[in-house]
Symmetry: C4
Subunit: 191 residues, 4 copies
């Protein structure tokens, strides 16, 4: 089964998710900076989610480059990942509109946690298909970042109810960790 | 005529349909679980429709993999399928916002029924083009699932007016039936 | 210059235009047929525009299949076509919400007229690039449908102010004319 | 690393950005020209942004045609460009709804300025990867337009607070400058 349509469909869904989030940035009624100012938490949460979706697209791109074919299980593992990613705009809007209040920040962490879990399941489905000696297995290696991220979310979620800002800082930290270039897959593939 | 653009266009439309549904999940005004709770029927109907659209995309993917070319009739049969699928977000929103009330649940079934019919017509248009000895014909086989699904919808629609929850259970049942891997097409193609 | 990205971008834009129109079908607040009924003009105008956009996508698909390359002029002629098509959801919403009243029906015709004009300009830009002896020129032939459609719109627009329903009937007539298979391009290409 | 998915994803995002802008053109409640008339500033700002996004898509198309491969840095430089472009619908809506008032016109210029900066960074990331003797380097040449555009925005932004209409005229001027065919890249590539 070809992987091209899986890529095209995932690209489409992620592109739409990333773009409809901006619809939550409602243009204020008045033409003043004062009217614009209250949008900053909505804007900040948009930036954070944009980066997270960028990371997912980036990782998805790398992951599928290391594979050769897909099966029904992979198709559904991928759909499952897209489902959790599709909830990010909702969680982003709730968090932004309530200025990083406790429950919305916790829910945002829950959506990130399930997205990370869905990505892990997709990785496993691909490994089951390609074998543990494959380019993919070598490329993934120990997947340190993939394993440490859920731990951060698990700490951040309960913390949201105590100090929401620290939970947010942890989400930002995980994003930065992923942004720092990780040449593992690239190195293994092209050496 | 090439099938690549038909796939790309269908992928685009299905990706957008699946993603705009999430716009019906309006972020509640207040930052409490109590404010979030009333969203559960909207969320549940979102999950159900997400799975249905995933099934359609998946089946469409398999169907087009078994074919070689398309003609004008296929293009329009495909457009007709996309039309009915495009009504799913509307039916989903109405059903979710009215907490699975009789009429919305019936309408949801009607949209599923016409989508299934449109898929059947698309299959026929492809068979007319590829012949009954083709890989496609062998791959489709008796198409048990495709034939039993409309029967379920036809039972569920009148039932909606009596016990809406049983109609919903039937929709879920059909979805589960499709999720259970059906290796018919894959097996025929790659043996 | 390759035509693949032009196709992909156009597919994307047309897929989104066709799908966001359905957002105008707002789920009614109450769960009754009575609440659903007033939506019929919005639904009818959605169906008409869906068919028109399907025709444009179909024709665009055929047109680009007959060509080999594109230049800057073609890119902008294509963008110009997408601009007019992007106004169809607006015209559709205005017409549907006002139950096919005079001015909205006239505006709908104006958007159809300019879309047809933009398509004609795109054809010319492609002919200028491929020459009058090309497959494209042979495939287009006398382009009877392309020439008669604007005439219908030009009659329908003023008629909207007298009897809007006849103008609508003319729009439907043009759509039907295009739906009737036209094997010109296919025949020339594949003989 | 292949550039195909980068193109597909960018096409998707730009196609969605360009199309969701039209959602700001809300169909007026009444079916009269008088009700339609107040939409003209929203319409004009839609036209301007449509052209700007068309220019970006066009340039992006040309830029990626001159390159052979991408790396992680290019992926993120591209994502950064898409981020600023994704703010165009917001700036467009604010400017249109406030009839080209001072602050919104200034913000529009800021978004254009950062988009131009992000495009410049993407160019640099691609040059770093392909070398200064590459087809890309030759094709870009002195990039006069790319260097003069930010200067125009930098003049227009403060001017917005004095005479907003002149700032708008400068934005239009930059757009026209880009629309005038620039055959540099095409010439270098295909000679």
């Amino acid at each position: 089964m070809s992987k091209a349509r899986l890529e095209a469909f995932s690209d489409g869904v992620i592109a739409i998710i990333i773009t409809i989030m901006v619809l939550e940035l409602h243009a204020p009624e008045h033409a003043t900076w004062t009217a614009l100012l209250p949008l900053w938490p909505v804007f900040l949460s948009y930036v954070l989610s944009f980066i997270y979706l960028g990371i997912y697209w980036n990782n998805h791109h790398h992951l599928l480059q290391a594979i050769k074919h897909v099966d029904g299980r992979v198709l559904w593992a991928n759909m499952h990942l897209l489902f959790w990613l599709s909830l990010i705009p909702f969680a982003t809007a709730w968090m932004g509109q309530n200025r990083f209040d406790a429950q919305p920040v916790a829910l945002y962490g829950v959506v990130l946690l399930f997205s990370a879990g869905a990505y892990f399941i997709l990785t496993k489905a691909l490994l089951a298909l390609h074998g543990h000696d494959s380019v993919l297995a070598a490329a993934l290696g120990k997947d340190f970042k993939g394993k440490i991220s859920p731990a951060f979310y698990l700490v951040a979620i309960p913390l949201s109810f105590v100090v929401p800002w620290i939970a947010c800082a942890l989400y930002v930290l995980v994003a930065i960790m992923w942004l720092v270039p990780d040449r593992r897959i690239e190195r293994t593939l092209f050496q």
